[in-house]
């Protein structure tokens, strides 16, 4: 174990994978300068501009080229800069990458990783801050990962690269500089396993990505009010660890899913629905209001799903159903 930032863990994992496998090629804008969050710092110097490619501002080509290359033996890692710009390449991701294996009757695979820095960050407003994980989980053919801790950042990237499926890797921008105790960041994670952040017995709080910190903060606030919340970091959104969540809710009897994304039709709804179907337990969700993301800090404060809001929602939920 050593202290390391989330972004440094991803750099080490990617470099280790690239040393191991010469088929890996990274495609994205401004990578030679390290990328917006310095996720690629030093990689072009080590691997050269043919493997760490500074692309034109051409998102549909970046994604489409990765699809074609992946079908023909390369292992592309695509950098979308902000999740929001993936929307310039949705056809290539959803109609092509996700479906081709199936449509071709299994003749080809599309092993590629699409890295999407996600979420609120530095008041970047409506076109640079969205959390659209539910869009990708909805699409058959895609694996969706979302590390919520520096310790998972490297292993999940390594696992995504080794997967033979197209993997969307959602990396919360606010987590990139976060430091934590990190094991070997180059050791691939097991996809589909959630992580117990904090045990508890009154309520199960499920979160992912940037919301894990907020959920943990909420659990602290709840503890001060005599409520014991169990916090689970889902880590992998598709496939997701229903076994761990169901076992937890079987003990607590109550589920609250917290997400930074819009609450309406968010991924939290899927988790809540499955848990209700399987256990009959009381379920609830908290997410952002169904508005675009505002610029002004005053409005962003009203928008954000933070620890205090999660705790308040949890307390009200328990008070109603106890």
């Amino acid at each position: 174990m050593s202290r390391m930032s989330f972004v440094e863990a991803t750099r080490q994992a990617l470099a280790a994978e690239m040393r191991r496998d010469g088929r890996i090629v990274v495609l994205g804008e401004d990578l030679g300068r390290g990328g917006v969050f310095q996720q690629y710092r030093g990689l072009q110097a080590e691997f050269g501009p043919a493997r760490v490619v500074d692309t034109p501002i051409s998102e549909s080509a970046i994604m489409g080229v990765a699809v074609g290359a992946a079908m023909c033996g390369a292992r592309p890692v695509v950098e979308m800069r902000y999740l929001d710009f993936t929307l310039c390449a949705v056809d290539e991701l959803v109609n092509q990458a996700a479906k081709l294996r199936y449509m071709l009757g299994g003749q080809a695979r599309v092993p590629m990783v699409v890295r999407q820095p996600i979420g609120l960050w530095a008041n970047c407003a409506a076109q640079h801050s969205q959390s659209l994980e539910a869009w990708w989980v909805h699409v058959p053919g895609l694996v969706v990962l979302c590390p919520g801790d520096p310790a998972d950042a490297g292993p999940m990237l390594a696992a995504a690269i080794r997967a033979d499926d197209p993997v969307v890797l959602l990396e919360y921008k606010e987590l990139f500089p976060a430091e934590g105790e990190v094991g070997d960041p180059t050791l691939p994670a097991e996809i589909g396993r959630a992580r117990l952040v904090r045990p508890g017995h009154d309520l199960t709080l499920v979160a992912w990505g940037g919301s894990v910190r907020e959920a943990a903060g909420a659990a602290e606030l709840l503890a001060a009010r005599g409520i014991s919340a169990e916090v689970i970091d889902l880590r992998s959104l598709w496939p997701w660890d229903s076994a761990m969540v169901l076992a937890s809710v079987a003990r607590t009897g109550h589920l609250l899913v917290a997400q930074e994304a819009t609450e309406v039709a968010g991924f939290g709804a899927e988790i809540a629905a499955l848990v209700a179907e399987e256990t009959g337990a009381r379920v609830a969700r908290i997410g952002a209001p169904r508005t675009p993301i505002p610029f002004s800090p005053a409005l962003e404060a009203a928008y954000r799903v933070d620890a205090a809001r999660i705790a308040a929602r949890a307390a009200a939920f328990l008070a109603r159903h106890r």
């Binding site: 401004d30 034109p56 407003a125 409506a126 076109q127 505002p294 610029f295 800090p297």
Partner: protein, 330 residues
């Protein structure tokens, strides 16, 4: 340099450029002093292009802009006080604090918006021109975009569409040679942006984008022909981005000599020189710069004292049908 221009017209350009420069320098300082949220994309060094182009637009004309959009709004006659309030995220901002620097718009002056997505303004400009054509309105649309945007699909799709429908669009490419932190030439193949436009049926002209008189002159001819029904035209204006890509970027990846050389080609100083030759005293230009500095200082002071938007504004202007309701405090 040889372009003939009247004293009053050039003085007006000088004032416009001085206002843009002062706005950008103020925004940069406010960012560095952590007094405004978010990032700003500065257009210092590029002022002659919006000044020269917008001077040729009529009241009913429209424009679209980019992430680097302050200059376009100012040259179009935008309200500097409202823009400053927007940078601060306060009430009374151009967009009520919902957009910020990268999304400033002002429909009263036909300014359809800066944009956070590269090349997103091109089809919007074409749509504005298409609407004008459908309505039989004699409006021209000026569409500003950067040299990096020509590598996105919407560039091809928009120019082709505008040419097919002979729409009244003046595409204005501000070629500052950089796409964020990458030199555009390293990611762009072929014989150049003008040739690309020509291949899509849009005649193109190149201009020294730091010579405001030349930009004004050429834009005047192009706007007139577009207004007369020639179909779209493209103006390719060579310039340079003095600052980093955003205010958070010191631009350290650039050769300092390249930046220093570019700064000697200052559109304001060049206009000042010509004005000197036309008999304008240096004191008159200094007075303009003082005026502008005072205007910006007032705008900042007012913005910093202005209230933030009411949190309830989060829920307004989303949509009519199925509008969100305010979250109930739990």
């Amino acid at each position: 340099m040889a372009t003939q221009i009247g004293r009053e017209r050039l003085l007006a350009h000088f004032r416009t450029m001085a206002r843009i420069r002062a706005f950008e320098e103020t925004a940069e300082r406010l960012y560095n002093e952590k007094r405004i949220p978010g990032f700003v994309h500065l257009s210092s060094g590029q002022e002659a292009i919006p000044a020269g182009v917008c001077a040729n637009l009529a009241a009913e004309d429209r424009l679209t802009s980019t992430h680097r959009g302050h200059g376009h709004t100012i040259a179009r006659g935008g309200d500097i006080q409202a823009m400053m309030l927007e940078l601060f995220g306060r009430q009374g901002g151009s967009c009520g604090g919902k957009g910020g620097s990268m999304h400033i718009a002002d429909m009263r002056i036909g300014m359809l918006g800066a944009n956070g997505v590269v090349a997103a303004g091109l089809p919007i400009a074409v749509g504005a021109a298409h609407a004008a054509k459908l309505a039989g309105e004699p409006r021209v649309v000026a569409c500003f975009f950067g040299d990096g945007a020509v590598n996105r699909g919407p560039f091809l799709e928009s120019l082709n569409w505008a040419a097919v429908h002979r729409l009244p669009v003046l595409f204005v490419c501000e070629d500052n040679r950089w796409s964020a932190t990458t030199p555009t030439r390293l990611t762009t193949a072929g014989p150049g942006i003008a040739a690309r436009a020509e291949a899509l049926g849009v005649p193109a002209c190149a201009v020294d984008g730091n010579d405001v008189a030349a930009v004004d002159h050429l834009a005047g001819e192009l706007v007139a022909s577009v207004r007369a029904g020639s179909g779209p035209r493209l103006l390719l204006a060579a310039t340079y981005r003095w600052s980093g890509h955003t205010s958070a970027d010191a631009g350290a990846y650039r050769d300092p000599a390249e930046v220093a050389r570019a700064k000697t080609d200052d559109p304001l100083r060049r206009a000042a020189q010509v004005l000197g030759g036309l008999g304008v005293a240096a004191a008159e230009l200094a007075a303009i710069e003082n005026d502008v500095a005072a205007e910006l200082a007032r705008a900042v002071e007012m913005a910093e004292r202005a209230p933030f938007p009411d949190p309830a504004a989060l829920y307004t202007d989303v949509q009519d049908i199925g509008a969100p309701t305010a979250r109930v405090p739990a």
